[in-house]
Amino acid sequence: MGDAAEARKHFKSYMVVFGALALLTAVTVAVSRVHFGHHSINVGVALLIAAFKASLVAAIFMHLKWESSKSIWWSLGICGVFFVVLLGLPTWSVSDAPPNTAHAAWDVLPREMVMEAKGHHEEGGGHGGSHGDEGH
């Protein structure tokens, strides 16, 4: 096997990435205990660490660092574009809606449909309160 020597060269990278992934998992947990003032900052930090871990896995374990096939890079590039659209659409649609209207559908759906389907009643004043609401 001609590239056995090359595989051997990468051995150290695998071990370094293993250590980094374990360490970053601990960091993810530790950082989630800290409150950065706003929840969205916590979300951002957690996603940044996750993205860094993911890129380590992709680059070293999945050999993308040494990948030269244009076919693979094109496939991944196009996939990346669609992925951004896929996650961008809900983010955009939520942020684009006027305040307190984006949730209108969700506000009605779970209460009217889910509760009814489950025959679920809210404990306590569920009867009086919610029926008054449904009248509208």
């Binding site: 695998y14 998992t25 957690a46 996750a50 896995v57 374990f61 050999h63 244009k70 809606a97 779970p110």
Partner: protein
């Protein structure tokens, strides 16, 4: 022999520059990105369009919903270890040792099984016994769908690895490089499953 039936299983395809199994695996993984991406997309839409208060408000999540970050972190570590053992299986195949490659595959399978066992015993069954189901809330609906789909991927990977340890290993005698390439493709898939979990863990357990 086998390479006459299916071309470019070992030597790179002149157009793509890689053996065809590898390109196929990457295309499959691209479709997997979209599959899991759609669920992440659903999570973003449901979470951020939920009202601040009222019955449709976003329910308790993570620890407040009863998930244990310790179990999540343990399973994260198990998956990371399994990614390393998977790399070791391929690496030993490259170095020409089938017995070591198989041994590392078996370790990977055992790690995958412990991931599933922990998931079932301490998470799914424990949640069910506390009356927490996918129908409990939007959060639990997404939690069970996303982790369930991920767990199915783990099971799928275990099936492929069992094949490679067992009957599939006979390919080694015919063409060790072809077998090692299969190890690499299985590894690509396996690392992707690990990669998905890297995102699932903080999103579902910590945020």
């Amino acid at each position: 022999m086998s390479s006459e039936v299916l071309p470019y299983t070992v030597e790179p395809h002149p157009v793509t520059g890689v053996y065809s199994g590898k390109l196929g695996t990457w295309l499959f993984l691209a479709s997997e990105v979209m599959l899991f991406g759609s669920l992440f997309s659903a999570l973003v839409l449901l979470r951020f369009s939920a009202p601040e208060t009222g019955p449709a408000a976003w329910p308790a999540t993570g620890e407040a919903a009863g998930l244990s970050w310790k179990i999540g972190a343990l399973n994260t570590f198990i998956l990371i270890c399994s990614s390393v053992t998977m790399v070791m299986a391929w690496y030993n195949g490259k170095l020409g040792s089938l017995s070591k490659a198989r041994m590392w595959l078996i370790v990977t399978i055992l790690l995958a099984c412990s991931f599933i066992a922990i998931k079932l015993k301490f998470e799914y069954f424990a949640k069910f016994s506390h009356g927490l189901y996918p129908s409990t809330s939007n959060f639990y609906g997404l939690y069970f769908t996303m982790t369930g789909l991920h767990a199915l991927h783990i099971v799928g990977g275990v099936i492929v690895m069992l094949y490679l340890v067992g009957p599939g290993a006979s390919l080694w005698k015919k063409d060790p490089e072809y077998y090692t390439n299969r190890l690499e493709c299985t590894g690509l898939y396996w690392h992707f499953v690990d990669l998905v979990w890297i995102f699932l863990f903080p999103i579902l357990y910590l945020l």
